[in-house]
């Protein structure tokens, strides 16, 4: 059974291609126009309307209204920046996919090394759960509005060209359908783009596991200098390749994480505030909707932090596996080279944004901390 990691990307790329975001130089003009029109209708237009609404609500609304507005505003702007990023970086992403497919050809893991296969299975489950949670959140938001159709409740309050709260049904239902579609578009685009760095990071940790395994294979060879040097060469070249791959991840894909951090902290703060002020019994659907939205934001931030941490942790294991391999019986040149490699392995491989913010659990706790501080400020201001 051969591992084909590229199939993990099928689901995100399927959504992105069908939503018109797979814009490369060779795309047809019809496809480009289709993508552009979809973008304008489902992202550009709501963004403009909601920004106008936000300025209005900051002056005239309560803290709860402002929190709701913040949730949607930051999500929309986040999606905007992420889509720009995706279109700009599409070629780099394709190059990284090439690296994955060549790695499969040159460094297939041993059949008995099951770790990578289970990791592959796990990531597929994570992707399915991820999309499932997204669609579930969209469903809950839509159901909430549909249940309360008599109150002319929409998914989120915003400025619109006509008054959708008037008694005419032919004004309300189209607007609600439009909102459902746009929430679906935003959700799928957002989640698809967010999962890409996570999948790359998981692959990096799989490559590192593969390397560890190849090192720890116990060969009972006699002292043979030429073979030793060749082995060292293969080891070092693979290690360098993995480092290059993680550098590419850091350079090309961490911007998404940075944007997501920013919007997640604000949205988490707003959601926490709304959850504490909404009664779960009286406004069950609204409570559930906000709660699910907060949870999905948290999950969106948690995934890259977890997999970034995995990369660092797995790279630390290589040194141990090298030490536990049979270097004692090898030639002097081999042992000398092992010394140099172990010197280099002292530094764990980190995924960093701009050589500055490391993507691991430390950052995750900082984000939660920051969201809580913002929430505390909101609480105090609300009390006054």
């Amino acid at each position: 059974m051969e591992l084909n990691y590229s199939s993990v990307f099928n689901l995100p790329f399927f959504f992105l291609k069908n939503l018109g975001l797979w814009q490369s130089k060779s795309s047809w003009k019809i496809y480009r126009s289709y993508g552009f029109i979809l973008y304008l209708i489902f992202l550009g237009l709501p963004l403009v309307c909601h920004t106008k609404f936000f300025f209005y609500i900051v002056k005239n609304g309560t803290i709860a209204d402002i929190s709701h507005a913040i949730n949607i505003l930051f999500s929309l702007y986040g999606t905007l920046f992420k889509t720009f990023w995706f279109v700009i970086k599409l070629e780099s992403i394709k190059e990284m996919l090439e690296v994955i497919s060549t790695d499969h050809k040159t460094h297939q893991p041993r059949k008995t090394f099951l770790n990578n296969f289970s990791s592959y299975g796990n990531i597929m489950k994570v992707v399915k759960f991820y999309y499932g949670s997204a669609l579930w959140a969209v469903l809950m938001a839509s159901l909430n509005s549909v249940i309360h159709y008599k109150r002319k409740e929409v998914i989120y309050e915003t400025w619109w060209f006509w008054d959708y709260k008037s008694n005419d049904n032919y004004v309300y239902w189209p607007f609600l359908c439009y909102q459902i579609l746009l929430i679906l578009y935003g959700c799928l685009v957002n989640y698809s783009i967010d999962i890409i760095p996570v999948l790359f990071m998981n692959f990096a940790s799989m490559m590192l596991n593969n390397l560890s395994d190849k090192i720890s294979v116990k060969n009972n060879v006699k002292e043979n200098e030429v073979k030793d040097i060749k082995e060292i060469k293969n080891l070092v070249e693979y290690h360098k390749k993995i480092k290059q791959f993680t550098d590419d991840i850091s350079t090309h894909t961490t911007f998404v994480f940075f944007i997501q951090t920013f919007i997640s902290s604000f949205i988490l703060c707003a959601c926490t505030f709304l959850i504490t002020t909404t009664s779960p019994i009286n406004n069950t659907s609204e409570f559930m909707r906000t709660f699910l939205y907060g949870c999905s934001m948290l999950f969106q931030i948690f995934l890259p932090c977890y997999y970034g941490n995995e990369v660092s942790a797995t790279s630390d294991k290589i040194s141990t596996s090298l030490f536990h391999s049979n270097w004692e019986g090898r030639s002097k040149k081999y042992r000398k080279s092992v010394e140099i490699i172990m010197e280099n392995l002292k530094h764990s491989i980190k995924i960093r944004f701009n050589n500055f913010i490391t993507i691991d659990f430390g950052t995750f706790t900082k984000i939660c901390n920051y969201a809580y501080s913002l929430y505390a400020v909101f609480q105090k201001v609300n009390v006054k």
Binding site: K233, K243, I340, N344, N355
Partner: protein
């Protein structure tokens, strides 16, 4: 005439000459690198110092006179702290001008190796271009900031808040429309008003330029050090390939002894036949040039070991001549010596400018705290909002400038190890492998610039400053 005189400056001084001239032109106490009477220059700088101190004292007096009203007190304190930077930098450069000229003189004599001169000059040119670009950018920003400050003075009301103790209420009192709220021993009306305006414009421009040129000098030093590290990383691979020729057969080893430049086709090392024809003495000084720093005496190059034990006894698998062998061995020595030179430069930079950074950070921290308080009082898009945001952005930009270059130095120095690891060291000689191992061990510790040992100049510092400002802002919003 000027060009002949200017060309006598070497090393860092000639690279940074525009910056130094700018500093001297705006009154800094740097009296080296000039032709002409020093006494006049001293008078010029002293006059500037006196004028700047006078205006600073006027601002302080204004602060002392308006302590009753809290918002006036805060605003005036922020102004005082803003202009403290200038006085601090002015006095600091004057007191440590010896240190500065010593740091500038460190790179006057650097070692060279015929195989790496092209790479060296390439990175030197890159550093030069970056330094010039940085200087232009910062000067442009300073001029724009001065112009904006002057322009914004003519918008909005020119008033101050005054606490009337008799009626216990706050009144709005008119004050002359000047850039900085300041007390003057004369009444700024009529012609004196325009004189005060011109004086304040001079003060604004000179304070900001004085402050920023010394920061740019510091950043330019760091740019130079980083590009030298890039040069060292760049020559690592050819170094390994060279060293591999010592004990491993290489089919094309003659090509390695050409210069790295593609256009040059000349062989650096003559073949044996040519050697016999010309009376070439096996003199190491023609291969490798070592000159000590600090202008000390030239050391006779007798330190390289002769492994072969005499001429004509060649165990080399590639058939290298003795001269070629010497060249290979001296290449590693060149690398290590150059790295030591860079480390010396960086520690000199830290010793020279660290205290100035510490003082800058202390002043900035207090000012940013007060600015956070002022920011909570912004109630709309008006002159007040623009001036608070302007102060904030300018102060954070000043801190960001030296943090980003400090961070780049840390990144470059710790990536030397990666460069050593990623060249084909496993194909190199045993000497090269030992060299790589020692480099890996040494370069794990990054080169840093510290603010007088209190803090490390890096982006973490900037992030903590920014985080602190945001925290104070949030706390003050709650207290309001």
């Amino acid at each position: 005439m000027t060009s002949i005189i200017e060309s006598k400056y070497v090393g860092l001084v000639s690279d940074l000459l525009p910056n130094i001239r700018l500093m001297q032109g705006f009154g800094h106490f740097i009296f080296k690198y000039i032709n002409g009477p020093i006494f006049l220059r001293k008078v010029y700088s002293s006059v500037h110092l006196v004028l700047l101190l006078f205006q600073f004292l006027c601002i302080l007096l204004n602060l002392a006179q308006n302590t009753d009203e809290v918002s006036e007190l805060t605003a005036n304190t922020i102004t005082v702290l803003f202009f403290t930077h200038c006085i601090t930098k002015f006095v600091y450069v004057a007191l440590s001008s010896e240190n500065i000229s010593r740091t500038l003189g460190i790179w006057n004599q650097s070692n060279s190796h015929p195989l790496f001169t092209e790479s060296n000059s390439r990175y030197h040119q890159i550093a030069l271009a970056k330094m010039r670009r940085l200087l232009m950018l910062v000067m442009l920003t300073t001029c724009i900031a001065t112009v904006c400050w002057t322009t914004i003075t003519f918008f909005g009301d020119s008033t101050k808040l005054w606490r009337d103790h008799e009626n216990n209420e706050t009144l709005t009192v008119e004050i002359p429309r000047l850039m900085i709220k300041s007390w003057y021993p004369w009444n700024p009306v009529g012609a004196l008003y325009f004189a005060s305006l011109a004086f304040q414009f001079y003060y604004l421009l000179f304070s900001m330029v004085i402050c920023n040129t010394s920061d740019v000098l510091f950043c330019s030093w760091l740019i130079f050090a980083c590009e030298q590290l890039q040069h060292l990383k760049g020559i690592m691979r050819p170094l390994m390939e060279l060293s591999a020729t010592l004990d491993t057969y290489r089919p094309n080893s003659a090509a390695l002894f050409r210069t790295v430049s593609a256009s040059s086709k000349s062989e650096l090392i003559l073949n044996d036949e040519n050697e016999k024809n010309s009376n070439y003495d096996l003199n190491i000084s023609t291969i490798y040039n070592t000159k000590s720093d600090w202008g000390a005496q030239y050391r006779a190059p007798t330190t390289l070991q002769n492994f072969n034990g005499g001429k004509g006894n060649n165990n080399n698998p590639n058939g290298l001549t003795e001269k070629q062998e010497m060249m290979v061995r001296s290449a590693i020595k060149y690398w290590v010596e150059r790295h030591k030179h860079v480390v010396r430069l960086v520690s000199a930079i830290g010793d020279t400018y660290g205290l100035a950074l510490l003082l800058h950070m202390l002043t900035s921290t207090i000012m940013l705290t007060l600015l956070a308080y002022q920011a909570t009082k912004i109630d709309g898009v008006n002159v007040y909002a623009f001036s608070v945001i302007g102060y904030l952005v300018y102060s954070l930009a000043q801190v960001f400038l030296f943090c980003i270059f400090g961070n780049r130095l840390i990144e470059e120095s710790s990536s030397v190890m990666e460069a050593a690891y990623s060249c084909h060291w496993y194909d190199g000689s045993e000497e090269a492998k030992t060299f790589v191992q020692i480099v890996c061990q040494q370069c794990q510790k990054a080169m840093t610039i510290s603010g007088a040992k209190f803090f490390t100049v890096s982006l973490d510092l900037f992030a903590s400053v920014l985080g602190a400002v945001v925290t104070y802002f949030m706390v003050l919003v709650q207290l309001k």
